[in-house]
């Protein structure tokens, strides 16, 4: 270690230049890094729900649905219809949009003077202008389920213009164009934008707003606290600089390897800020501890000691995060695992190589003697008023603290069982956000915005298949959150009625084929059946944003599907509720398998390095306690497990390992010399404890700034990270020392 330290100081100029050069080059790559907010991409490509869902995108003109709602006192006015038509035409002429459905282009099948009329509900080139025509349009709309509550609200005050996007287009970009185009029309009606593409655009917008306001504030807070702690510019700049470098390296490499940022990996910078700065804080703290006339020697001495614990905690954290690669089902969690491990590795190397090199470059010769300024560590504010009394308390009452911790764990465990999951994007928005308001409006007036698809494989012109479709639709509509359904079976039934044979599916295939003849070329057909007529879908929307409701609905549908699916008519369910349910379940599963794996790995590595399985277990205790406490807190307070909060446990893990290892290594180092429990605890607290507290307070305070975010999961995330920092730190400074004290006293007792 000593040789390594000397080597670093010898080649410090090369190291510093190389690091800056690499950072500039990788930083330049980041400009091309894209944010992919599409949640469907987080399911693996071979996932059955994802496959069916993507298939609908390919075969039925898009699975991604956007909506524009126009709201006014009465929709049935010529001026309003003109505006609907204007929006419809504009959308149809927008690149990337595959289909548009609105009041002014929706199909209508009606009997007229004994004749048959398959055309538009409203003639777009001859909009109704007289009161009697408008009244009869209203009567027609309100008489059919296909329109009422589907395209026009039951009270006649709102209408939706629905559109689907082509497969493979940049949904966010199209949504943005749609918004701009419609806004520039300055319609007198109230306009709302909803649906997944719109939400994606909104989230991206809010993220940008958060980034530009909150990130600087968080940085200032962290800097302030670091300055108060170290009382030097170096203590502020170096931890932040080293996290920044590791963040830039990781993002640059992501771009080079062709990865996108997604909803989870976009949090990597924040995680690295928390985890990465700790290594540097420990190094600087140690360097500050080693005072002496010869700065170079002092630096070598500091590095000789600190390299082992920092390396150990770094490498354990890397392995801890890498458990997300193997334990996770979701692609986005897996990517998070890969790049957070990598970033942690970088942060550790930077703290051990770049930071000492930089420190020696700037301070070895310039700051000849700082001894005059140095206070005894017992006399610093933190030392005198907190660390000293605290370590005395711990040494005095280890058993009470141990019992208290057990009680806290017990209470938390109960909370863990109440934890909820929610990956629904709607819950990202605050209640006053316009996207959230639109979603609420969609739920109240149009039965929701989440697309549901039931896919039928079989001969789409056979009476049996069409009858099964009708049955499925009736069954679906009995579920409280399903208001409308649409399929080719509906159209055939309506046409059969117009032919005077009753509102039912005809009993012969030939009749169906001939009715079909009249539907051919209608815009709606490619949305409902494939061209070769061997696949068709029921389109519907789901009206609840609650994960439990979605799960119940999927179970409800699967019961029917299992009972009615045959070889000639294979039924399957997909859509956003199915995707969300799958994500929810995988999120929980991923979380627990990954964390379990990570903890086992941590125990293994620490045991190996410290050559003691016992110490390995000790190191894991604060981590386990913090994670249980966190989940318990989430359960009690009602914070759901979502794409952001799912990462908190991993931060608790990353921080917890560091804290444990520093405390354990310092303590045993000291104890093996002195064989004095109280003294070793005091010394551990004074050095490692101090570094931990600085790290906890600065990062926690920085994260509390996120409470002012506009995105709900980010608010929760900020709170939980702060809590996990405090929790890990607290456990490392109370429970862990208590265990160590009890362990050593037992040891002393046995040896005596």
């Amino acid at each position: 270690m000593k040789n390594l330290a000397k080597l670093i100081i010898k080649y410090r100029i090369v190291i510093v230049l190389l690091t800056f050069g690499l950072t500039v080059w990788l930083g330049y790559q980041i400009k091309d890094l894209k944010l992919d907010a599409d949640i469907i991409n987080s399911l693996p490509n071979n996932d059955s729900v994802a496959v069916t869902y993507k298939n609908i995108g390919n075969q039925f003109g898009g699975n991604s649905m956007g909506m524009i709602i126009l709201k006014t006192d009465n929709i049935f006015k010529t001026s309003v219809l003109e505006n609907i038509k204007q929006v419809t035409d504009t959308l149809q002429q927008t690149d990337g949009i595959s289909t548009v459905t609105s009041l002014t282009n929706i199909i209508d099948i009606k009997k007229e003077d004994g004749g048959i009329d398959i055309s538009n509900l409203v003639d777009p080139y001859d909009l109704p202008r007289t009161k009697s025509k408008l009244d009869s349009l209203r009567a027609r709309v309100m008489s059919k389920d296909m329109y009422k509550g589907n395209i026009v609200s039951a009270d006649g005050t709102s209408t939706i213009i629905m559109f689907t996007l082509n497969d493979g287009v940049d949904k966010q970009a199209v949504a943005k164009i749609v918004k701009e185009k419609v806004k520039s029309m300055h319609l007198p009606e109230k306009v709302y934008f909803g649906g997944m593409p719109m939400m994606m655009d909104d989230v991206a917008h809010l993220m940008k707003r958060d980034m530009s306001t909150l990130l600087p504030i968080a940085l200032i807070v962290i800097m302030l606290i670091l300055f108060l702690s170290f009382q030097s510019a170096r203590g502020v700049i170096l931890p932040l600089l080293s996290s920044a470098i590791s963040i830039i390296w990781v993002l640059g490499i992501m771009q080079l390897l062709g990865f996108n940022l997604d909803l989870i990996s976009s949090n990597i910078p924040i995680v690295l800020l928390a985890v990465g700065s700790a290594y540097t804080i420990h190094v600087i703290n140690r360097v500050n501890e080693e005072k002496g006339k010869n700065r170079k020697k002092a630096l070598v001495r500091a590095l000789t000691y600190i390299t082992v614990p920092v390396f150990l905690s770094g490498i354990t954290t890397v392995f801890g995060f890498s458990s997300f690669i193997f334990g996770a089902y979701l692609t986005m969690i897996r990517n998070f695992g890969i790049f957070t491990s990598l970033g942690t590795l970088f942060a550790m190397i930077i703290a051990l190589v770049f930071v000492p090199a930089l420190v020696s470059l700037f301070s070895v010769y310039r700051r000849k003697n700082t001894k005059a300024k140095v206070k005894k560590r017992e006399n610093t504010l933190m030392g005198k008023w907190f660390l000293m009394p605290f370590s005395r308390l711990i040494a005095k009452h280890p058993k009470y603290i141990f019992a208290g911790s057990l009680l806290l764990i017990l209470v938390s465990v109960i909370g863990v069982f109440q934890i909820k999951t929610s990956v629904n994007m709607v819950n990202y928005f605050e209640k006053t956000n316009s996207t959230r308001i639109t979603e609420d409006l969609m739920q109240q007036k149009f039965g929701g915005s989440l697309p549901v698809f039931v896919v039928f494989k079989g001969d789409m012109q056979s009476p049996e298949v069409l009858n099964t479709m009708m049955e499925t639709e009736d069954y679906m509509k009995k579920y409280p959150y399903v208001k409308t359904t649409e399929s080719v079976a509906d159209l055939i039934k309506q046409m059969n009625n117009v032919m005077g044979e009753g509102s039912k599916i005809p009993n012969s295939k030939l009749k169906i084929q001939q009715l079909w003849f009249l539907l051919e070329g209608q815009d709606i057909m490619p949305q409902l059946v494939t061209k070769n007529l061997n696949e068709g879908i029921i389109q519907s929307r789901f009206g609840s944003a609650d994960s439990k409701d979605m799960e119940n609905f999927v179970t409800y549908m699967n019961k029917f599907i299992t009972a009615h699916s045959t070889k000639d008519c294979q039924i399957s369910l997909t859509g956003m509720p199915s995707v969300y349910v799958r994500l929810n379940n995988s999120l929980v599963r991923s979380q627990f398998t990954s964390l379990g794996l990570a903890i086992l790995l941590v125990i293994f590595i620490v045991s190996l390095v410290l050559k003691s399985i016992r110490k390995g277990f000790y190191a894991a205790v604060p981590i386990i306690v913090t994670i249980i406490f966190l989940f318990g807190f989430m359960g009690y307070v009602g914070i759901a497990l979502n794409v952001a909060t799912v990462l908190v446990a991993s931060i608790a893990l990353g921080m917890g390992i560091d804290y444990s290892i520093h405390i354990i290594t310092y303590y045993y180092n000291d104890f093996n010399e002195t064989m004095n429990v109280e003294r070793s605890i005091k010394n551990t607290m004074m050095v490692s404890g101090k570094a931990i507290i600085i790290n906890v307070v600065s990062v926690a305070a920085g994260f509390l700034v996120l409470l002012f975010s506009h995105i709900v999961p980010i608010q929760d995330f900020g709170l939980l990270v702060a809590l996990s920092m405090v929790g890990s730190g607290f456990a490392a400074l109370t429970l862990l020392p208590v265990i160590l004290i009890m362990d050593s006293r037992k040891y002393l007792k046995n040896t005596n």
């Binding site: 002429q93 003077d113 001859d126 295939k509 001939q514 209608q522």
Partner: protein, 244 residues
Amino acid sequence: MKTVKLSVLISALFLLVGFNVNAQNATTILKKMDDVMFSAKDQSATEKIILTDKDGSIRTREATIKQKGNSMRLFRFVKPASQAGISILSLPNDVMYLYMPAFGKVRRISSSVKSQNFAGTDFSYDDMESKPYSEKYTSKLLKTEAGDFVLQLIPKSKRSAYSKIIVTVDKINGYPVKMEFYDRGNKKFKVADYQFKKIGKYWNASVITMTNLKKHHQTKMIMSSVKYDQGLSDEDFTVRKLEQ
């Protein structure tokens, strides 16, 4: 000021006259086109319809057509088997009847379908009818090319799906070579290419290829066994005939 106003008036007058000459000319060209296309007393033929999808897949249909004058037409599908016998009868004043053999029933088709596509093709019901263009559109001569006139047709009816049609007319024979259809957003969305062949004394649109630029879908209609002036009577175009 006065002189300025006067000059404006005079130039406006000239412009108007100029327009008129142009209009006259365009109307004549269009009238001639109508004559070339619709002058036979009656006509019968077999029509093959080839539909090409955007991915290149092809479906074919076949129908027989009987037509008398400009406004009576009987269209009867013979292929594919599932659609054989489906027939559409068009009579004057936009009256249309549909017969479906599987149901054994005749139903009137509402005139509001006119801007809709006809039976999965890229032709609208409007495109299929044989009403003279000069009755439906006002025309303007855009330019004269080597062998063609280029006319702009503006629909007289507000209910048309088109904002305009640009027609290229063969100078010598007077038949259309190409028609470009513009939607209400004034965007070109359909193009029809014509191939004419002289059968007896009439020019026959033996192949019409209609391409929908937006849907990337194409319909080719190929005429064969064309017979003109066989003396079809009104009796051949009745609901009773439709059911046979």
